[in-house]
Subunit: 284 residues, 2 copies
């Protein structure tokens, strides 16, 4: 299947702000959020994905600022965990994250599920609890026209971060819940190793993919969380994954999300943005 005409255009590209080091103080080099927005606009990047911690009480203003610069808010990261020992006792914070997404003016809120439910073993009971909570959250989100994107994580994040490990499992959970505003997010870091991915996506009903996240898997990953590679620097077959994702009907942006404490987060944000645009246009 041919890629879309604009496949190498920055109009298919979005920045996840984590790529500029959101875990450091402010963004890399202390950039305020306005500077990030303008730097994306200057490069023709189509959209931005924020994290809740960056938004605070400024959701409406930030959303308007993004649109005034000619960009879209492509998504919001993310709900609190819905399962596992670190999940809040109620869904109140999850509902608030839906409200924040609506105030920002984005369509899509990502879900990282959380881990294994206390007192249980394995993943199946946690997935049942998850299905119930996601169903309630999806009903609430539908009232605000927000779509929820379940993101399966690399199995190294089992235990305390996720109870969904593959795209197939995430799609099964969508089928189980059956909410029209529930789909999945596909992140290269989490799925690159899955040799069944193309086949799984080929058998998927259209419009279940609500997000596609780009980075690369470094041949020798040093840290589970904060050693992602820039596209082209690793071993993921980025073009094959994108073909599979777009072949399954995805028409949204490709969102660059590189957690990299010791490499990319140490660089000048202008350099990071220049390089990610170039890599997107050449290796993705």
């Amino acid at each position: 299947m041919a890629l879309r005409d604009f496949s190498q255009s920055t109009q298919a590209l979005a920045l996840n702000t984590a790529t500029l080091g959101h875990n450091l103080d402010g963004y890399g080099a202390g950039w305020p959020i306005e500077k990030v927005i303008d730097a994306c606009a200057r490069r023709g990047i189509a959209g931005i994905v924020f994290w809740r911690r960056e938004i605070g009480t400024q959701a409406i203003a930030i959303g308007e600022r993004v649109r005034a610069a000619g960009l879209r808010v492509v998504g919001l990261c993310r709900t609190p965990y819905l399962t596992g020992a670190e999940a809040p006792a109620t869904l109140d914070e999850a509902y608030a994250s839906v409200e924040m997404a609506a105030a920002l003016g984005t369509e899509t809120l990502t879900i990282v599920t959380g881990g294994t439910e206390p007192g249980t073993k394995g993943v199946k009971e946690s997935q049942s609890v998850l299905a119930d909570r996601v169903q309630r959250l999806a009903e609430f989100a539908a009232t605000m026209d927000i779509k929820l994107a379940l993101e399966p994580l690399n199995p190294m994040f089992g235990g305390n971060r996720t109870c969904l490990f593959t795209v197939a499992e995430a799609l099964d959970l969508c089928d189980r819940v059956g909410a029209p505003n529930l789909g999945i997010a596909i992140d290269v870091y989490h799925v690159w190793w899955d040799s069944s991915l193309t086949e799984v996506l080929a058998n998927t009903g259209h419009n279940r993919i609500f997000g596609y996240h780009l980075c690369d898997w470094l041949e020798s990953t040093q840290d589970m969380l904060l050693d992602r590679g820039m596209m082209g620097d690793g071993v993921a077959d980025l073009k094959a994954i994108r073909r599979a994702v777009e072949g399954a009907g995805y028409e949204g942006e490709c969102e660059v999300e590189v957690f990299s404490a010791h490499n990319w987060w140490q660089r000048d944000p202008d350099q990071v943005l220049d390089i990610l645009v170039e890599r997107f246009q050449t290796v993705c």
Copy 2:
């Protein structure tokens, strides 16, 4: 399916010496290999699995010493990598590892495949190279009555350590090669998250499982390689996995393999052995 009668007996139990800290100088507390053998025999543990580095030129003598103590050498870890940047240029070292297994008097040599082939992306080309090399190695191993056990690794080890990530993929590779002495090893650390495991194993021809490795997945794993949990301390559903493994026809030992630099490797080996026996009898 009922577990075998001796399911909680130490006659179903083997020690992988890595559990006593083989990456430290000698074993934990500087035990010589004879002391490890006798400590296992005293507890009724049925067998031991060694690593090549411990054997050197003493394979025949160590094998005889194990059998004189009333134990079996249950396996040898492992071939060198067969794919990826760190794989030797030829199979000579892999052939030598087969010869070492034969000299030790064990039936089973484990294969950790190695990572993505240089100059390629993704895993499929690496799996093709792997199939070719495993086929040649299996032919050589057959002449010495050695079985090869392909071990799929947790996807966090993609890139530089493995190009097989699931039991289903490892079984597919066995089918592709078609050698009667080629099967798989199933390690809790690598497969606990895989919700398709029971179904995959239920559809497997018997006698493809040549090894079953026990540990636990800690809820909050701190280190990819060296933070495994002792059985019962984590979130893996150990009983369900064992039922699936034995339901698929496995009748060999359960081999305890706990890499744990900051916990179990710091303890007195007698204490580690006492606890692993107790945990095997109560939670596995």
